[in-house]
Protein backbone atom coordinates (compact mmCIF):
# COMPACT_ATOMS: atom_id res chain seq x y z
CA UNK A 1 0.00 0.00 0.00
CA UNK A 2 2.85 2.29 0.89
CA UNK A 3 4.34 1.69 -2.54
CA UNK A 4 1.10 2.82 -4.19
CA UNK A 5 1.20 6.05 -2.18
CA UNK A 6 4.78 6.65 -3.28
CA UNK A 7 3.75 5.93 -6.87
CA UNK A 8 0.79 8.33 -6.75
CA UNK A 9 2.78 11.04 -5.03
CA UNK A 10 5.65 10.57 -7.47
CA UNK A 11 3.31 10.72 -10.45
CA UNK A 12 1.63 13.87 -9.15
CA UNK A 13 5.02 15.48 -8.56
CA UNK A 14 6.13 14.59 -12.06
CA UNK A 15 2.88 15.88 -13.56
CA UNK A 16 3.25 19.12 -11.59
CA UNK A 17 6.82 19.53 -12.75
CA UNK A 18 5.77 18.86 -16.34
CA UNK A 19 2.98 21.43 -16.10
CA UNK A 20 5.38 23.95 -14.59
CA UNK A 21 7.93 23.34 -17.34
CA UNK A 22 5.26 23.58 -20.02
CA UNK A 23 4.10 26.86 -18.53
CA UNK A 24 7.66 28.18 -18.48
CA UNK A 25 8.19 27.06 -22.08
CA UNK A 26 4.99 28.80 -23.16
CA UNK A 27 6.01 31.98 -21.35
CA UNK A 28 9.49 31.73 -22.84
CA UNK A 29 8.04 31.23 -26.31
CA UNK A 30 5.79 34.23 -25.77
CA UNK A 31 8.74 36.35 -24.71
CA UNK A 32 10.72 35.12 -27.68
CA UNK A 33 7.83 35.93 -29.99
CA UNK A 34 7.49 39.43 -28.51
CA UNK A 35 11.21 40.05 -28.94
CA UNK A 36 11.21 38.79 -32.54
CA UNK A 37 8.07 40.83 -33.29
CA UNK A 38 9.76 43.96 -32.00
CA UNK A 39 13.03 43.29 -33.84
CA UNK A 40 11.73 42.16 -37.20
CA UNK A 41 8.55 44.15 -37.75
CA UNK A 42 9.84 47.55 -36.65
CA UNK A 43 12.72 47.25 -39.12
CA UNK A 44 10.34 48.41 -41.87
CA UNK A 45 7.24 49.85 -40.21
CA UNK A 46 5.71 50.83 -36.88
CA UNK A 47 4.46 47.91 -34.85
CA UNK A 48 0.71 47.55 -34.85
CA UNK A 49 -0.83 46.55 -31.53
CA UNK A 50 -1.52 42.79 -31.29
CA UNK A 51 -5.03 43.71 -30.15
CA UNK A 52 -5.81 45.41 -33.46
CA UNK A 53 -6.44 42.11 -35.28
CA UNK A 54 -8.17 38.82 -34.55
CA UNK A 55 -6.32 35.51 -34.50
CA UNK A 56 -7.50 34.69 -38.03
CA UNK A 57 -6.48 38.10 -39.29
CA UNK A 58 -3.01 37.77 -37.78
CA UNK A 59 -2.61 34.43 -39.52
CA UNK A 60 -3.29 36.07 -42.89
CA UNK A 61 -1.06 39.03 -42.09
CA UNK A 62 1.78 36.82 -40.92
CA UNK A 63 1.58 34.66 -44.05
CA UNK A 64 2.29 37.81 -46.02
CA UNK A 65 4.91 39.22 -43.69
CA UNK A 66 6.80 35.96 -43.39
CA UNK A 67 7.63 36.43 -47.07
CA UNK A 68 8.25 40.16 -46.98
CA UNK A 69 10.51 40.05 -43.93
CA UNK A 70 12.39 36.86 -44.89
CA UNK A 71 11.38 35.23 -41.60
CA UNK A 72 12.57 31.75 -40.77
CA UNK A 73 9.98 29.13 -39.88
CA UNK A 74 10.78 29.39 -36.16
CA UNK A 75 10.56 33.18 -36.22
CA UNK A 76 7.23 33.03 -38.04
CA UNK A 77 5.72 30.58 -35.58
CA UNK A 78 6.98 32.43 -32.49
CA UNK A 79 5.72 35.82 -33.69
CA UNK A 80 2.36 34.40 -34.78
CA UNK A 81 1.96 32.65 -31.43
CA UNK A 82 2.68 35.88 -29.58
CA UNK A 83 0.32 37.96 -31.74
CA UNK A 84 -2.53 35.47 -31.60
CA UNK A 85 -2.23 35.06 -27.83
CA UNK A 86 -2.34 38.83 -27.35
CA UNK A 87 -4.94 39.44 -30.07
CA UNK A 88 -8.49 40.67 -29.57
Amino acid sequence: MKKIHYLICGSLALAGAALLLAGCAATSNQANGARLWSQNCSRCHNNRSPASYSQAQWEVSMMHMRLRANLTGNEYRAILDFLQTASK
Binding site: R43, C44, N70
Partner: protein
Protein backbone atom coordinates in the same frame (compact mmCIF):
# COMPACT_ATOMS: atom_id res chain seq x y z
CA UNK B 1 11.06 49.68 -51.03
CA UNK B 2 10.41 47.37 -48.18
CA UNK B 3 10.50 49.99 -45.47
CA UNK B 4 8.06 52.83 -44.97
CA UNK B 5 9.58 55.90 -46.60
CA UNK B 6 10.21 58.67 -44.07
CA UNK B 7 10.38 61.27 -46.85
CA UNK B 8 7.71 62.54 -49.23
CA UNK B 9 9.75 61.57 -52.28
CA UNK B 10 12.03 58.68 -53.12
CA UNK B 11 15.79 58.91 -52.96
CA UNK B 12 17.72 59.46 -56.18
CA UNK B 13 19.22 56.53 -58.03
CA UNK B 14 17.51 53.78 -56.09
CA UNK B 15 13.97 52.75 -56.93
CA UNK B 16 12.81 53.33 -60.51
CA UNK B 17 15.96 55.34 -60.92
CA UNK B 18 18.78 52.92 -61.52
CA UNK B 19 17.06 49.95 -59.86
CA UNK B 20 13.55 48.59 -60.41
CA UNK B 21 10.98 48.93 -57.67
CA UNK B 22 9.10 45.96 -59.08
CA UNK B 23 9.59 43.39 -61.82
CA UNK B 24 7.24 40.71 -63.12
CA UNK B 25 8.77 37.28 -62.63
CA UNK B 26 9.29 34.55 -60.09
CA UNK B 27 11.24 34.75 -56.87
CA UNK B 28 12.55 32.51 -54.13
CA UNK B 29 13.33 34.13 -50.79
CA UNK B 30 13.75 33.35 -47.14
CA UNK B 31 15.90 33.55 -44.03
CA UNK B 32 18.58 31.27 -42.61
CA UNK B 33 19.61 31.48 -38.94
CA UNK B 34 23.29 31.21 -38.07
CA UNK B 35 23.51 31.11 -34.29
CA UNK B 36 22.55 34.53 -33.06
CA UNK B 37 23.14 35.92 -36.55
CA UNK B 38 21.02 35.56 -39.64
CA UNK B 39 21.21 35.58 -43.41
CA UNK B 40 18.37 36.37 -45.75
CA UNK B 41 18.29 35.71 -49.44
CA UNK B 42 16.26 36.35 -52.58
CA UNK B 43 16.82 35.01 -56.07
CA UNK B 44 14.64 35.74 -59.06
CA UNK B 45 14.11 35.61 -62.81
CA UNK B 46 11.92 38.26 -64.40
CA UNK B 47 10.94 40.09 -67.54
CA UNK B 48 13.84 42.33 -68.43
CA UNK B 49 13.64 46.09 -68.30
CA UNK B 50 13.96 47.69 -71.70
CA UNK B 51 16.68 50.02 -72.88
CA UNK B 52 15.43 53.41 -73.98
CA UNK B 53 16.81 53.85 -77.52
CA UNK B 54 14.45 56.62 -78.59
CA UNK B 55 16.76 59.38 -79.72
CA UNK B 56 13.89 61.85 -79.33
CA UNK B 57 13.80 60.96 -75.66
CA UNK B 58 16.53 63.47 -74.90
CA UNK B 59 18.07 62.91 -71.48
CA UNK B 60 16.24 59.58 -71.08
CA UNK B 61 18.30 57.99 -73.87
CA UNK B 62 20.10 54.94 -72.50
CA UNK B 63 18.03 54.70 -69.33
CA UNK B 64 16.16 51.53 -68.37
CA UNK B 65 12.36 51.35 -68.33
CA UNK B 66 11.38 48.99 -65.53
CA UNK B 67 7.60 48.81 -65.81
CA UNK B 68 7.61 45.81 -68.16
CA UNK B 69 4.55 43.75 -67.50
CA UNK B 70 5.06 41.90 -70.77
CA UNK B 71 8.16 40.41 -72.29
CA UNK B 72 8.12 42.27 -75.57
CA UNK B 73 11.75 41.94 -76.52
CA UNK B 74 12.16 38.35 -75.33
CA UNK B 75 14.73 39.28 -72.69
CA UNK B 76 14.93 38.01 -69.14
CA UNK B 77 17.04 39.11 -66.23
CA UNK B 78 18.24 37.12 -63.25
CA UNK B 79 19.35 38.43 -59.93
CA UNK B 80 19.14 38.32 -56.21
CA UNK B 81 19.96 39.85 -52.88
CA UNK B 82 21.90 38.54 -49.91
CA UNK B 83 21.51 40.15 -46.51
CA UNK B 84 23.58 39.55 -43.40
CA UNK B 85 22.39 40.46 -39.91
CA UNK B 86 25.28 40.17 -37.42
CA UNK B 87 22.92 41.61 -34.79
CA UNK B 88 19.13 41.87 -35.14
CA UNK B 89 19.27 45.66 -35.47
CA UNK B 90 21.75 45.75 -38.37
CA UNK B 91 21.45 44.41 -41.90
CA UNK B 92 24.18 44.59 -44.54
CA UNK B 93 23.15 43.62 -48.04
CA UNK B 94 24.32 43.16 -51.58
CA UNK B 95 22.18 42.63 -54.65
CA UNK B 96 22.63 42.28 -58.38
CA UNK B 97 20.60 42.03 -61.57
CA UNK B 98 22.00 40.87 -64.89
CA UNK B 99 20.45 40.24 -68.27
CA UNK B 100 19.58 41.43 -71.74
CA UNK B 101 17.82 44.77 -72.04
CA UNK B 102 18.30 45.66 -75.70
CA UNK B 103 16.44 44.73 -78.84
CA UNK B 104 17.31 42.61 -81.88
CA UNK B 105 18.56 45.75 -83.60
CA UNK B 106 20.50 46.98 -80.58
CA UNK B 107 21.46 44.05 -78.35
CA UNK B 108 22.81 44.97 -74.93
CA UNK B 109 23.16 43.60 -71.44
CA UNK B 110 22.78 45.48 -68.18
CA UNK B 111 24.55 44.77 -64.90
CA UNK B 112 23.05 46.45 -61.85
CA UNK B 113 24.58 46.17 -58.39
CA UNK B 114 23.54 47.50 -55.03
CA UNK B 115 25.04 47.61 -51.53
CA UNK B 116 22.78 48.53 -48.63
CA UNK B 117 22.83 49.07 -44.89
CA UNK B 118 19.94 49.32 -42.47
CA UNK B 119 20.10 49.92 -38.74
CA UNK B 120 17.03 50.25 -36.53
CA UNK B 121 17.36 50.58 -32.77
CA UNK B 122 14.62 51.28 -30.28
CA UNK B 123 15.97 51.58 -26.76
CA UNK B 124 15.63 53.33 -23.42
CA UNK B 125 19.23 54.58 -23.71
CA UNK B 126 18.34 56.39 -26.93
CA UNK B 127 14.99 57.42 -25.42
CA UNK B 128 13.39 56.55 -28.70
CA UNK B 129 13.79 54.90 -32.03
CA UNK B 130 16.74 55.57 -34.33
CA UNK B 131 16.84 54.58 -38.00
CA UNK B 132 19.83 54.70 -40.29
CA UNK B 133 19.69 53.52 -43.86
CA UNK B 134 22.02 53.80 -46.82
CA UNK B 135 22.24 52.29 -50.26
CA UNK B 136 24.51 52.69 -53.25
CA UNK B 137 23.72 51.51 -56.78
CA UNK B 138 25.93 50.92 -59.80
CA UNK B 139 24.35 50.59 -63.25
CA UNK B 140 26.34 49.51 -66.30
CA UNK B 141 24.79 48.99 -69.73
CA UNK B 142 26.70 47.75 -72.77
CA UNK B 143 27.73 50.13 -75.51
CA UNK B 144 24.97 50.58 -78.07
CA UNK B 145 24.96 52.51 -81.31
CA UNK B 146 22.11 55.00 -80.89
CA UNK B 147 22.25 56.15 -84.51
CA UNK B 148 22.40 59.93 -84.80
CA UNK B 149 23.02 60.18 -81.06
CA UNK B 150 26.12 58.00 -81.41
CA UNK B 151 27.32 55.95 -78.47
CA UNK B 152 28.40 56.75 -74.93
CA UNK B 153 29.71 55.08 -71.82
CA UNK B 154 26.40 54.12 -70.19
CA UNK B 155 27.48 53.91 -66.58
CA UNK B 156 25.64 55.61 -63.75
CA UNK B 157 25.78 55.35 -60.01
CA UNK B 158 24.23 56.94 -56.97
CA UNK B 159 22.59 56.37 -53.66
CA UNK B 160 21.48 57.86 -50.39
CA UNK B 161 21.95 57.89 -46.67
CA UNK B 162 19.21 58.77 -44.24
CA UNK B 163 18.77 59.17 -40.52
CA UNK B 164 15.56 59.60 -38.56
CA UNK B 165 14.73 59.65 -34.89
CA UNK B 166 11.45 59.32 -33.07
CA UNK B 167 11.52 60.44 -29.41
CA UNK B 168 9.10 57.84 -28.08
CA UNK B 169 10.62 57.51 -24.60
CA UNK B 170 10.77 61.11 -23.35
CA UNK B 171 7.52 60.77 -21.42
CA UNK B 172 5.62 63.09 -23.73
CA UNK B 173 2.87 61.55 -25.90
CA UNK B 174 2.89 64.65 -28.10
CA UNK B 175 6.65 64.63 -28.65
CA UNK B 176 6.50 60.92 -29.44
CA UNK B 177 4.40 61.65 -32.51
CA UNK B 178 7.14 63.70 -34.19
CA UNK B 179 10.02 62.32 -36.20
CA UNK B 180 12.75 64.53 -37.68
CA UNK B 181 14.54 63.05 -40.67
CA UNK B 182 17.56 63.99 -42.78
CA UNK B 183 18.60 62.50 -46.11
CA UNK B 184 21.49 63.01 -48.49
CA UNK B 185 21.17 61.50 -51.95
CA UNK B 186 23.22 61.68 -55.10
CA UNK B 187 23.10 60.60 -58.74
CA UNK B 188 26.14 60.54 -61.02
CA UNK B 189 25.22 60.47 -64.71
CA UNK B 190 27.09 63.40 -66.24
CA UNK B 191 28.70 61.26 -68.97
CA UNK B 192 25.30 60.16 -70.26
CA UNK B 193 22.77 62.17 -72.33
CA UNK B 194 21.30 63.39 -69.03
CA UNK B 195 24.53 65.44 -68.82
CA UNK B 196 24.32 66.43 -65.16
CA UNK B 197 25.16 65.07 -61.75
CA UNK B 198 22.73 65.77 -58.94
CA UNK B 199 22.92 65.79 -55.18
CA UNK B 200 20.34 66.80 -52.62
CA UNK B 201 20.02 67.49 -48.90
CA UNK B 202 16.54 67.05 -47.52
CA UNK B 203 15.25 68.01 -44.09
CA UNK B 204 11.93 66.61 -43.03
CA UNK B 205 9.57 66.40 -40.10
CA UNK B 206 6.93 63.72 -39.78
CA UNK B 207 3.90 63.65 -37.52
CA UNK B 208 2.47 60.20 -36.78
CA UNK B 209 -1.29 60.20 -36.16
CA UNK B 210 -1.10 56.47 -35.46
CA UNK B 211 0.95 53.44 -36.34
CA UNK B 212 -0.07 53.56 -39.99
CA UNK B 213 -0.89 57.22 -40.68
CA UNK B 214 1.64 59.99 -41.09
CA UNK B 215 1.92 63.56 -42.35
CA UNK B 216 5.28 64.52 -43.81
CA UNK B 217 6.74 67.92 -44.58
CA UNK B 218 10.18 68.50 -45.98
CA UNK B 219 12.46 70.94 -47.73
CA UNK B 220 14.84 69.68 -50.37
CA UNK B 221 18.03 71.53 -51.31
CA UNK B 222 18.86 70.38 -54.82
CA UNK B 223 22.16 70.96 -56.59
CA UNK B 224 23.07 69.95 -60.14
CA UNK B 225 26.36 70.06 -61.92
CA UNK B 226 25.41 70.95 -65.49
CA UNK B 227 21.77 71.86 -64.99
CA UNK B 228 19.47 74.17 -63.04
CA UNK B 229 18.82 73.23 -59.42
CA UNK B 230 15.27 72.58 -58.27
CA UNK B 231 14.75 73.16 -54.57
CA UNK B 232 11.40 71.96 -53.33
CA UNK B 233 8.93 72.06 -50.46
CA UNK B 234 7.20 68.71 -50.09
CA UNK B 235 4.08 67.83 -48.15
CA UNK B 236 2.57 64.36 -48.06
CA UNK B 237 -0.10 62.55 -46.12
CA UNK B 238 0.18 58.78 -46.09
CA UNK B 239 -1.88 56.01 -44.62
CA UNK B 240 -1.70 52.26 -44.96
CA UNK B 241 -2.96 49.00 -43.60
Amino acid sequence: MAWVNRMADQPLAVYDGLLPETLVGTQLRGGVPLGSMKFNYAAFAANAPSLNTDTNGGSALGTLAFDNFDNGNGNFVGGGHLGFLPIPELELGYGLIYGGVGSAEAPANAFLQSADLNFVKDSAALRGSLRLSAQWVWSAVDHVDYGAAGSFDNKRDGGYSQISYRPTKWGSPVLARFEPVFRFDILNQKNTPAAYDEWRYTLGLNYWFGAMTVAKIGYEFDQRDGDTAHNAVMVQFATGF
